[in-house]
Symmetry: C2
Subunit: 385 residues, 2 copies
Amino acid sequence: MSLKQIYLDHAAATPMDERVLDAMRPYFDTHFYNPSSPYAPAVQVRHEYEEAKALLAGTFGAKGDEIVITAGATESINLALSGVTGHVVSSAIEHHAVLAAVGRHEHTLVAPTEKGIITPEAIAAAITPNTEIVTIQLANNEIGTIQPLRDIATIIETERNRRAEAGESTPLHFHTDASQGFGQIDVHIARLGVDMLTLNSGKMYGPKQVGLLWLKAGVSVLPLILGGGQERGLRNGTENVAGVMGFSKAAQLAEKHTKSEANRLRELRDNLQITLQKTFSDMVVSGHPKKRLPGSLHVAFPGLDGERLVFRLESRGVLVATGSACAANKGTRSHVLKSIGLGNAEADGSLRLTLGKLSTKEIIQEAARIISEEVQAEYKRIGDA
Amino acid sequence: MSLKQIYLDHAAATPMDERVLDAMRPYFDTHFYNPSSPYAPAVQVRHEYEEAKALLAGTFGAKGDEIVITAGATESINLALSGVTGHVVSSAIEHHAVLAAVGRHEHTLVAPTEKGIITPEAIAAAITPNTEIVTIQLANNEIGTIQPLRDIATIIETERNRRAEAGESTPLHFHTDASQGFGQIDVHIARLGVDMLTLNSGKMYGPKQVGLLWLKAGVSVLPLILGGGQERGLRNGTENVAGVMGFSKAAQLAEKHTKSEANRLRELRDNLQITLQKTFSDMVVSGHPKKRLPGSLHVAFPGLDGERLVFRLESRGVLVATGSACAANKGTRSHVLKSIGLGNAEADGSLRLTLGKLSTKEIIQEAARIISEEVQAEYKRIGDA
């Protein structure tokens, strides 16, 4: 039994890339100046900060001055919704941050299909003349399903045209929480058709507590944090220069290798899935079989206790989750699994396996072997009881 | 002419201490886990995070679970004021972050004395039966004046007692923005008599965009950022583990050496002041001569242009500010200098010199020489014109 660590929870946190720390390093000490200071070394830091923002924005087709740097996706999401006075359309399977921020407003949560897809038809049915924002995640953080954002954007465009023709002035914008998926699938504002986009550095091998909100020209939000006028007054406070340098580097690395990493992860994930399916014929795989993040595998072993499995696997060096880190911490049943209609027996026996940079072929083979052994042992324990 | 850099703007930004980076380093890659994940290595990170928070809180006499980690002082200040529905008392010389956050509410800004002191009497006069928060900075970021918080706390206690006796239920709390001064003067919640306290890692040789708000038991605020329930639900989003490790280390180092550093800086600052005063008899020193941060020196050369001086000094390797970085960036006249009644000729010829860890005896002697030369050259240029 090897106690080498096998990390299968990349959706919860990612280790920072060494090149990311290298990009941050100078801004901790030698280039530590406040970018608002007037002397040349500080002006140089301001310049490098803006340049890093431009490169960061460029990874998804935007411009540097269109993004607001925040302290993570949760803040970005709250900021995206800050200007809303009317109705919001979202989905029942969004991250807790979106559900909490949406909860501040009159809202409708659209139900997903059994595969976890939010259909454009369901969005169309939920939009009212008073809807100001539709916010739908790019990919689900538990089951990995990728949403048809482009098609939802078409629905939104149709409603915008209707309002324009009817002389109605209520604005309608489309926001996506793209925290999950960057570096695994194509993320480009023009191709997605969104007006606002949230990204999270901590999910793409960058530093934690750095995020961004991209705003299409003309889309306005109300600052949550007032102060010295930084980030066009939309997010005040001395800039996180080192953090943005790291985020920018991480995004550039992720974007550059998206295709090859997607192919690599998909093959590993599919092999893991097939191996487990061969051994456990009643294992349930949740999410859409194709429209799913390449590194995501959500499986349920009906009758087993997912939390027990997590600890059994941990004792063998395999780190997995039952669901999102936030939900797991509260010991509540996943709202995502409930929404896609998974029964309690399946939901309670769930494991979320998310692959990423730390997943090599050898490691995933080892993981398949250990998970098989431990699931079998659990079934045996229950059968014997 | 030496082009060795002489940094005299520690109030704007501080270089991160090497020991701080060492404390952060493991949490970027090897200990990168989401502290809300269920497996042992993540639980260990949670434990270390809470421990670091406890040590951080301990540096100013508080407990770990009484502090909310934020992305900097600006956010802390906004959070401190988030629950207010009534009147706020503050001062005319607060940082822009406080003035902006206070501006959201009905408020009274108390004027300082000519030395920049906010007197307890002025606070008493400004408090109304509807006042919910009094927020006064520990020390001014431009002129360095240290405020008599303990005496203001007594005024607040008197008003609380009056309300209790009168059967009035409006709460009254005392917040201080202690961003400037930690590591130079005593900062201890019991001795200051405050109910809420804001600290900023980036001003004490820790990482930027990490801050905290301490809340006395029973003081409530409304979260600005909703989400996964982190920081007791008061500040949601995956925790900035590395940042907090750095902040905690920085605060411990600063607190430990407060007395010796204060004495060292005071001697250097006084020598610099005396040297300049000898050469320029009409030089104006702003702020209180005694109740002033040991590392702060605000001087005005009537008739000169502070911005020109900044660039002249920069060409000699001396980095100074005319005022706060935020204000300098906007090219506006300092609200602080205006409030203490400094004339425009003095305000426009101002330099803010803030000493800190990078200030050695040799460096400050060199700074005094170069500043004297450049100020003389400017007076000569004007006289010749």
